[in-house]
Symmetry: C2
Subunit: 350 residues, 2 copies
DNA sequence: GAATGTAATCAACACATGTTGACTACACCT
DNA sequence: AGGTGTAGTCAACATGTGTTGATTACATTC
């Protein structure tokens, strides 16, 4: 019945000694064990646990438990440093959704950089593994996933982790939580067309939005003019949109409207137009996609297609959890609804 | 020398059997063990490891290793759901810095919601613990840390985790990575004063910026007028800044300049002024703090005090790592340099 | 009163690993 | 040839836990 003074770690044995019982009994009490314990003894054991501030050794438990695999750690693979997209306002809200949903479902999130995994195979093999993470969210733009030399690492990830989902384009047919980029682009462009615009430039990032842009034009009997399209940097959309807009204006061929791939580009385009003395929407109309928080706060307020960013993050987590037990290799992707938000930059309110 | 067919988990024993040696030798090879192994035997063991795809059991290793404590998981405590600040553009970049630096130093990040810890003591006791995390970053605004009823949980955190740092205001004298908010406010306000403004309103969030605002006025022999100050919501600075600006204008007492606590509020204030027919900077000048990415993209471009957001995140991680071995309970805080960025919203360029 | 059953407890095993005392075989030196 | 040292290997122990076969004590039944 002696309290061992200043032992660094308290074990079940210590508790057993203190309570004057065998170690097994302590284990029974802790786990509502396979054997019964008399109420009196149980009380004594609990008191001893309290008194000694006993805390089960996590590793010993899991060792005994069998399987070293963890059950509640979700890995997120993003571009990392050289290609960091986490600081984009868009992913911003996606992340907030991921965090909140993970908290709620008692899941933990761990971040991985795709490029670091690529550079350091030892790290990759040790960490992107069922022993370390139970699920994986791939937050990788196509420009990364489709680069030659990047395929093998992706294959390995997919082979190793069963519970996996994409938050950008679907990779290798994996399920994804996405919105229809082509449809979003279609909505934004068609809106401009309905307002009478015929010369609609496009600051593009990806092919899908390009598809939507093209389809909207063709369905409305407008020509698809490649010279009106300019490609943006995905890493710095604002800076490159600003530059591209200036260059476009310098050609002298000023469009009556510009559709930009995201709000950051839209805001930058407005700035460029403003700096050249052109008014939005009077001289040039603007629409875009995303509906980031500041879209409604700039002047003119941005007409844009709202994407449920936060919900995308939340669904991604929920999707993973729900799919953990079920073995359906071809689970369907989840396409979230989008909505055109008409504000001032398109000129519809005039 | 038989390859056991279809065993679920491969152990050192399996490798030893396969290679025709004892298990100890396998352990020696894996850890460059305390005993030497002949080159030939080593080769055979390595081949067996490869062949059987052996992977050490993490939990057994750590159990043997002693101490259940982890060494490379950094917990970040934020407000969470009802008080989520992770989706603010400011914290956005701080986070990016945290991630990048953590990756580089082979550390992992785990997020905790302060309110969830508050609600669920069982979860709190199990997870905010040296067995689960090695370090802690407190990303909690004063409004949370100073709320009655929140003290105990903070005390427990601080008591349990040795390696701890604040990324907002310092709590209980803990080291913090911060910038001088008062100094930043002072710079922004003094700039307006030097441009001749005498009626400078203030959309405020915290006391420190208020201090800087007050000091700038007093040092320049201007009256400190409480009626020019309005308090913003820290959760939705843009929306509340927009509202407060409109209300301010409705009183008829229009200031010649407004200093806003952060860029989001600044952008919203410009919007409100614009919507009431006032021009920035001609009718009302604006300065603020943060220098978020879009600050330079709106028109007029925002004059603001740049805060090294990304570096704050990076330093926080580096600070933790460097302090891990050293037992200095009163480590100094780290105050990062700030810089006034003059653009168009203040009118200095006219 | 003897046999049977049951509740409560304990000693011992198993989990996969890292380390140490002991043992063997062989090279080297005198 | 005999003694000494060492490289290489193995059996055995230890880590802290969950579980099971065995044991004890006691109540119940015939």
């Amino acid at each position: 019945m002696n309290k061992p003074n200043e032992k660094d770690v308290v074990t079940q044995q210590d508790v057993a000694d203190y309570a004057g019982v065998s170690r097994a009994v302590v284990s029974y009490v802790l786990n509502n064990g396979p054997r019964k314990v008399s109420a009196e003894t149980r009380q004594r054991v609990i008191a001893a646990i309290e008194e000694l501030a006993y805390r089960p050794n996590k590793h010993a438990q899991r060792l005994k438990q069998g399987s070293a695999a963890v059950q509640n750690i979700i890995g997120i693979v993003t571009g990392g440093q050289s290609y960091n997209i986490l600081n984009r306002p868009y992913y911003n809200l996606v992340l907030a959704g991921l965090f909140d949903s993970a908290h709620q479902l008692n899941q933990h999130i761990r971040f991985f950089s795709f490029f670091e995994a690529l550079k350091d195979p030892v790290f990759f093999n040790k960490n992107i593994h069922p022993d370390e993470i139970s699920s994986l969210i791939l937050l990788l733009p196509k420009i990364i996933t489709e680069t030659p030399g990047h395929e093998e690492i992706l294959d390995t990830m997919i082979e190793r982790i069963d519970n996996i989902i994409c938050l950008e384009d679907s990779i290798r047919g994996l399920p994804a939580v996405i919105f229809d980029r082509a449809a979003a682009a279609f909505m934004a462009v068609e809106h401009l067309i309905k307002l009478g615009h015929q010369q609609i430039a496009f600051l593009a990032i990806d092919d899908q939005r390009k598809q939507g842009y093209r389809q909207a034009l063709l369905e409305n009997n407008l020509p698809y003019d490649e010279t009106l399209i300019r490609i943006l940097s995905a890493v710095e959309p604002a800076q490159s949109a600003y530059q591209q807009t200036l260059e476009m204006l310098e050609t002298g061929k000023t469009p009556t409207a510009i559709f930009t791939a995201n709000d950051e580009a839209g805001i930058a385009a407005i700035a460029a137009l403003h700096d050249r003395g052109l008014r939005v929407p009077d001289d040039v109309a603007i629409t875009s996609i995303d509906d980031i928080e500041l879209a409604s706060m700039i002047r003119p307020a941005l007409t844009t297609v709202n994407v449920p960013k936060r919900r995308m993050g939340m669904y991604a987590i929920q999707f993973l959890i729900s799919q953990r037990e079920i073995l359906s290799p071809h689970a369907a992707s989840m396409v979230l609804p989008i909505e055109l938000i008409v504000r001032d930059s398109c000129g519809a309110r005039r």
